[in-house]
Amino acid sequence: MKLSDKELEIIEILEKDARTPIDVLAKMIDLPVEETEALVHKLEEANVIVQYTTLVDWRKVDGHEGVTAMIDVKVTPKRGVGFDEVAERIYRFPEVKSVYLMSGAYDLSVVIEGRSMAEVAQFVSEKLSTLDSVISTTTHFILKKYKHDGTIFDKGDQDRRIVVAP
């Protein structure tokens, strides 16, 4: 799908802040509100804008328990379907947050969220390793998130400018 400059701008703005009010968005791209709304709707319909989500720093939430692991998975691709079939078998599990096909030393990078290390370990040993095509897995637990999807969690850059300057 070939996008217009205005559509590309909408995506760039919403990708940074999905809650940009429609009237503000319209002014930013210099189009009437109705036209802007129609473009956003079109992008949603075409599944170019897939979803609007919220980035949460769960460490700030008392009592929250949870671990995230990145798992390197080596698999045997199948004739005709390549990696897609085994990828699908993996990404259908709800605890799997993302699956990427990778170049390099392993094939699939799988991100899993669980309530505890034990829960993740259980998933890997019972669900993932037992799949026919899976040759091996290497599990890395995430210890701390510094930056996610372009956003730094602890923002240190406050406005240090003087109040009025020529």
Binding site: E9, V24, K27, I162, V164
Partner: protein, 390 residues
């Protein structure tokens, strides 16, 4: 004996300079809490990390000594390449480019290098606050030409021509302009070029906002045929690359003029800070993508902010560059200073009264839109409330 010791010690020229009108506002705004400041003349971005990192690396490697007076040759070569690539002008890095401590120093050097006592320099107002005092300090006489808000603060060559006398040495122009955001069109630049040729004038072109041009490409007057020989092109890293605190600018001019500037620079400054020059080198080599992202961000905020100003009843032309909106407040019946002071005290929004930039700025206020979109939205809300109460 004169009992006023200040008069005794401070030179008459300096004593005669008006204090910057911004100072009073700064003090007032700084004394209040919760102020949204649209009064800042600098980017809201922190310098990109790759530039900061390159400068840190230069320190780690011990590059802490002076550079050549004119600046690192490598940097001058990159500046020459940059000027060729972006503005289609050719300068020799060895003899025609000077790295300065901000564009401000370059303007000072340019004036001191060309002005004889009593020479006249034409300044088009509203303008950056430093031109007029720098002309005076260089021993010249500033001659003010007023751009009019009714014409979108475009340069009026006819007005400039009327101001030209036998003593006129140069014209200072700034495009994109601080405070109006106005971009001079190629046609206006050509008209000015014809005047310069006809009357044998130099043009000091302050192009510090060149990277922040939103409609089409920036045109440098140095690129107008015949003008390279009579232009001192001044720019720098502060605005486009978000490097204000680094104090790094440059001048490009024909050898004779540039060498005259270098002569002053080597006595008065030695060289620009070395670590900043290494940062600038990285900026020119790898910074283009980030500059483009910042430019896009300013353009969107400009669109939002100017449309909103017009909507709440502050008529404002769409500025083609820089990051300032310069709306008219004339219909409120308040002076620029009254408007700005009341807006600050009553709604805690800091803007700069237009008269600070010259008498033709009276009836206007300068609002910088280099603030987060959230802050701009809040500022608009407060300004709307303020206007409804007037």
């Amino acid at each position: 004996m004169n009992p006023q010791t200040k008069k005794m010690y401070v030179s008459e020229t300096v004593a005669s300079l008006k204090p910057s009108g911004i100072r009073r506002f700064f003090d007032l705004a700084s004394s209040l809490d919760g102020v949204i400041s649209l009064g800042v003349g600098e980017p809201d971005f922190v310098t990109s990390w790759s530039i900061r990192e390159a400068s840190i690396l230069s320190l780690e490697q011990g590059y802490t000594s002076y550079t050549a007076n004119a600046g690192l040759l490598e940097l001058r070569q990159e500046i020459a390449a940059y000027l060729r690539r972006k503005f289609h002008v050719e300068y020799r890095p060895e003899t025609e480019i000077l790295v300065t401590v901000g564009a401000s120093q370059a303007i000072d050097l340019a004036l001191r290098a060309i002005v004889n006592p009593g020479d006249e320099v034409i300044v088009v107002e509203p303008s950056f606050v430093a031109y007029e005092p720098l002309v005076v300090l260089a021993g010249g006489t500033p001659v003010i030409v007023h751009a009019s808000g009714a014409d979108g603060f475009q340069l009026m060559p006819a007005h400039i021509e009327r101001a030209i006398t036998e003593r006129t040495k140069a014209v200072i122009i700034c495009s994109p302009n601080n405070p109006t955001g106005t971009v001079l069109s190629p046609a206006e630049l050509k008209a000015l070029a014809r005047l310069a040729e006809k009357h044998d004038l130099l043009v000091i072109a302050d192009e510090i906002y060149a990277e922040l041009t939103y409609e089409g490409e920036h045109t440098s007057i140095a690129a107008v045929p015949g003008m390279r020989e009579r232009t001192i092109l001044i720019s720098g890293f502060s605005k486009g690359f978000a490097m204000t605190g680094w104090r790094l600018g440059f001048a490009a001019a024909p050898e004779e003029l540039l060498q005259a500037m270098l002569k002053i620079h080597q006595y008065a400054m030695m060289c620009a800070p070395t670590m900043a020059q290494y940062g600038a080198l990285e900026a020119l080599r790898n910074g283009e993508h980030e500059v483009e992202q910042m430019r896009n961000s300013y353009r969107r905020r400009r669109n939002y902010f100017v449309a909103s100003l017009n909507e709440i009843g502050l008529p404002c032309h769409l500025p083609g560059g820089a990051f300032y909106a310069f709306p008219s407040i004339r219909h409120t019946g308040l002076t620029s200073e009254q408007f700005a002071e009341r807006l600050l005290l009553e709604e805690k929004v800091a803007v700069v009264p237009g008269n600070v930039f010259g008498t033709s700025g009276e009836g206007y206020i300068r609002c910088s839109y280099a603030s987060s979109l959230e802050q701009l939205q809040e500022a608009i809300k407060r300004m709307k409330r303020f206007l409804e109460r007037l």
